[in-house]
């Protein structure tokens, strides 16, 4: 085991988490879990920003990741309000049953 961690390990971890987020987004049928997969993808992107911020010895990556967090918070508030409204009108959370805009 090396004494220091190579930069690529962090990027690989980020890629794995992003891939898992995409898989959950496609595979899961519950709208809340789909939403949580999106949050997982945002977290993976944040890890990439922080890693390159370390590599370049600049603080800008931290600022971008901070803005991603802010946008994620706003998105969670609005998205969960939309989920509440959908549940109030349809009494279901399964995305297979909420497909009336598809056709």
């Amino acid at each position: 085991m090396p004494a220091t961690v190579p930069i690529s390990w962090y990027l690989i971890l980020s890629a794995i988490l992003f891939g898992l987020g995409v898989a959950g987004f496609i595979y899961r049928r519950n709208i809340i879990t789909v939403f949580m997969s999106i949050e997982l993808m945002l977290n993976a992107v944040n890890l990439t920003f922080i890693t390159f911020s370390y590599t370049l010895k600049k603080v800008d990556g931290h600022i971008f990741s901070f803005f991603v967090m802010v946008v994620a918070a706003a998105e969670a508030a609005v998205g969960l309000a939309i989920i509440l409204t959908v549940f109030k009108n349809r009494q279901t959370l399964m995305i297979d049953d909420i497909s009336s805009m598809k056709y």
């Binding site: 879990t33 994620a72 918070a73 508030a77 989920i83």
Partner: protein
């Protein structure tokens, strides 16, 4: 020591990520996501992001996940019903292809990245709250102010959507 801590928390993050995708109950997925966020905060700390690690714990694992858990409890969301049958072949083929894809991506990252010295804890000291605040209020002042408008719109949107008679 740095590598050991990284490997432990990376393993926790990947395990919790798989658990998020594999669990059928939304509350189990939410707890797994909190696990991912907590271990990512430790990894941020390792990369010198003190402020971002704290913001990750407070904003993500605290505020956003509480919102998620609150909505899951409010809607009384149970385990996911199997509304359609996924063929067993395509399920396992999909898992296999995902693993192959992630392995390929890892190989490409490993091969294409120039060889630099590894991460040492404490080598980058620029991630303090003071440094980020100075940058945020000088160079990134306009995006910061625009963010406040975004938050205001999000608050209004949430209130309008969650009203009784929509």
């Amino acid at each position: 020591m740095t590598a050991l801590i990284f490997l432990i928390f990376a393993a926790i993050a990947v395990f919790c990520g798989i658990s998020l995708v594999a669990q059928t109950h939304p509350i189990a997925s939410a707890l797994s996501l909190i696990g991912v966020m907590g271990s990512l905060a430790i990894i941020y700390l390792q990369l010198g992001g003190e402020f971002i690690a704290m913001a990750q714990m407070i904003v993500y694992a605290g505020a956003i996940m509480v919102l998620f858990v609150f909505v899951i409890m409010l809607l009384n969301a149970g385990a996911e019903a199997t509304t359609r049958q996924i063929p067993i072949l395509s399920r396992y083929l999909g898992m296999l292809l995902l693993v192959v894809f992630l392995g390929l991506i890892s190989f490409i990252i490993q091969a294409m990245l120039p060889k630099t010295e590894g991460v040492v804890f404490g080598a980058f000291q620029g991630g303090t709250a003071a440094a980020i605040g100075r940058k945020l209020f000088t160079v990134y002042l306009l995006p910061f102010e625009v963010t406040s408008v975004l938050i205001l719109i999000a608050i209004l949107g949430a209130i309008v959507l969650a009203r009784r008679e929509v």
